[in-house]
Symmetry: C3
Subunit: 336 residues, 3 copies
């Protein structure tokens, strides 16, 4: 499945530099280039590899084209162009439209054209799977779940009753959508459950990472917008709303009823407390603790950066002495 560089240039509207007849059969990094591989330069950190790469071709921005030591493709955004070109080399998926004999599909489920259901998957009554949906092995689709066209569910995914998933989504293995929200009331010294009568509605083109969990709403629904991208092991509590095009890195947690705007980016393990509002276009760096609403777009952070343990202990002690230090300064001021 090799393709000539010239063909790639034409197919993706990129400017060809050098020998267009070189054959490309896959991707490689600049540092570990190889004959047949195409690479890209997007992060300036790796520019030093450009002059000596063993790759057969490199995708670069115009500014870097003169530094090419190999044939190349010039793109306005080399990373976007690389993403398109690399898709040429993704292995073909399993044959579409096959229902495995060991899948368990209730008679009351409705399946569109070209739906695939792998071995051991269980599809309950009332579930509606759009055209081209694929369900991984041992995934479990609850009653009355609705799944839009071309959406792919990985192995061991669980969708609980009534969940709505849009078109062209990807749910990776172990994802749970629609589990009971953590709604509890204390009554005479014991917890009683607050029924969680909402569901989860996931938009189109959403990616949900492995073992991520999204709880159903208490009264109204938990809502994930279109083109939202969620990494692994993320927790999204009941009645959270996430705006279109936002991206959440791994291990993020959003507590109940908080709202995240559109085009937000949350770094790994960011925690957002409950009942907050984060406006559009907010970027939050990894492990930040968010305990208040954020109403202005921009970049936000918190967290105590790593030190040697000895220095850290001193920092902690100083922080604890800070009240006394303030008193000492006040004393000096009053004495002045």
């Amino acid at each position: 499945m090799a393709v000539r560089l010239r063909t790639l240039a034409e197919r993706y509207g990129l400017e060809l530099v050098g020998d267009g007849d070189v054959e490309i059969d896959g991707v490689c990094t600049l540092a570990n280039g190889r004959a047949g591989g195409i690479s890209f330069l997007a992060n300036p950190h790796y520019r030093r590899h450009l002059s000596q790469t063993a790759a057969s071709a490199v995708i670069v921005a115009e500014a870097d084209a003169s530094d090419l030591s190999t044939p190349g493709l010039v793109a306005q955004d080399p990373y976007v162009a690389y993403a398109r070109v690399a898709a040429e080399f993704v292995p073909a998926p399993d044959a579409q439209g096959s229902i495995h004999a060991r899948a368990v599909i209730d008679e009351g489920a409705s399946l569109g054209a070209g739906v695939s259901v792998a071995a051991g998957a269980v599809v309950a009554a009332g579930a509606r799977l759009g055209d081209g949906v694929s369900v991984g092995a041992n995934a479990v689709i609850g009653r009355d779940v609705s799944i839009g066209a071309q959406t792919q569910l990985g192995p061991n995914v669980t969708l609980e009753e009534g969940v709505v998933i849009g078109a062209r989504c990807r749910l990776h293995p172990g994802v749970v959508v629609g589990s009971r929200g953590f709604g509890l009331a204390m009554d005479a010294g014991r917890w009683i459950e607050v029924p969680q009568l909402g569901t989860v509605r996931v938009g189109d083109d959403v990616e949900i990472g492995a073992n991520t969990t999204i709880d159903r709403g208490a009264v109204e629904d938990t809502v994930i917008g279109d083109d939202v991208k969620i990494d692994n092991l993320v927790q999204i509590a009941h009645n959270v709303r996430i705006g279109d095009h936002s991206a959440l890195a791994a291990k993020v947690g959003i507590a109940g009823s908080s709202t995240i705007g559109s085009y937000c980016m949350l770094g790994g393990a960011v925690g957002v407390a409950g009942h907050l509002e984060i406006t559009d276009k907010v970027m939050i760096t990894g492990m930040t603790l968010v305990t208040r609403s954020i109403r202005e777009p921009g970049t936000y952070s918190s967290g105590w950066p790593v030190a040697t343990s000895g220095e850290w202990r001193k920092q902690v002690a100083r922080l604890r002495r800070l009240g006394k230090l303030e008193d000492r300064v006040k004393q000096l001021e009053s004495g002045a």
Copy 2:
């Protein structure tokens, strides 16, 4: 399945205000009220919606009863009353007592009356399932596991060998109970496994959230008390003990051999180091780092709250200069 407001008042011992003939067919929020919906006011933040809600009825505390613009129910604790009333509208579960033809149940397992086992679930020899237990699709119950009456296991749950689960528990999808504790010893530059010979004992009325993991004990058992409520993606290490009625929010992690008292509440992503003791009635706010035992009831916190990234960088720099600032103050004092 509508019910008159008067009927709800009588059934739950609540005081009726206004028209008792109004028919209620579900729940709604105050802000998005609708005809047929019953709502509640527990959080004063939402009081402003009370006068203009489109809900058909609202559950309120006595102090708010005079502000009702709709029929209502007056309760000592409106949230508790709401939890009871809302349970009227929970969809009926699947028929009890059915064993799916595609479930795999070892001959050596024993099942009580009315046990349900869904498609693809696997129940090993020696497992004992109490009356009315339900096992979700593709769940896996290991050898000699014991499950109390009326407990519900979601899809894709795994219970490892010998685990003991109480009555009326709910384990949500993807939960793992009884995996090997992380016990290792370094020997001549290589890790060797320390056998984990304890198990996990979970009390009655315990909820365990989606994809949460609870490890088996090393020598003795890991123990979860009665009426403990655990949210999603929580990690409970070997030999942890959690007292009755405690609640752990999502992403909490408790390291090995630590003990949490009764009626504790741990916020999201709280981390408790190993071999600590947290006494009863301790509340810990989200993302707190707990590196020492807590011997007094109360509310505890830590964490660096969010700022703009620019301000955060300045805060970090100031923290790092704090030792020098102390020196400068000392210098001033000695000069005074």
Copy 3:
């Protein structure tokens, strides 16, 4: 299955103290000793139990041998010796070499001698399982996955296409290896996927904890070295490399393309940002935020330790005032 203490001494090359005829049938703690149980003393914190334990025997270091109140075994490293002795009492695994009738194994998969596949497990075409591999119930093995001899996969594990797992590994329930890396490029206001064309290569003797996720590489592979030990709910992003003999506690997250050296130990919930390098023999305490490379072996920390919420709020306020405090000190200095 009792064994005489003398036999254990001989079998593991340990020095016998006292009555070698005492029969040992399992393990116990010092605090909750019992007849027939063998315990150990490794943590000085528990020395106070040594004189009054009801255990039948105790494994101790030479320095503690004179304090034994029971028969004992003297070891250079009592914890390592205990790990070996305790292995005597691990229940025998299920019969090896059985393929359950309800397992689904593609004709194009190749299975070594003595492979076990439990009910509901699914093994795809091209998968190669080495001798003695065991696959848990409802686990899913993707196309062209390779698994080394004697490796054990728990229930509900998912290995995606092409993943390579070494020999003698243990993957606990719910583990996902080889899910798509979180590679995205923003193009004209929408996310496009960057194909993840690498895979995951896991070495020999690796343990991976319950519900942990390890993503496949973007261009090259994600690589886990030999004898690496990973706890539950850990996230390892695309193109991470972890050196031999390192151990990662629960809830650790390593962002894309970061490298962890050999013999590193990361405490619970440590977060490592992307594109960093951590050298060999680095220990990082729990919940530390690592935003820079670490080039010197040693122990590293960060994090704001727990306080009462009242004191914490004061600490936060003081931190926020720290810039002003610096100004005040400067003012005093200039006035001096």
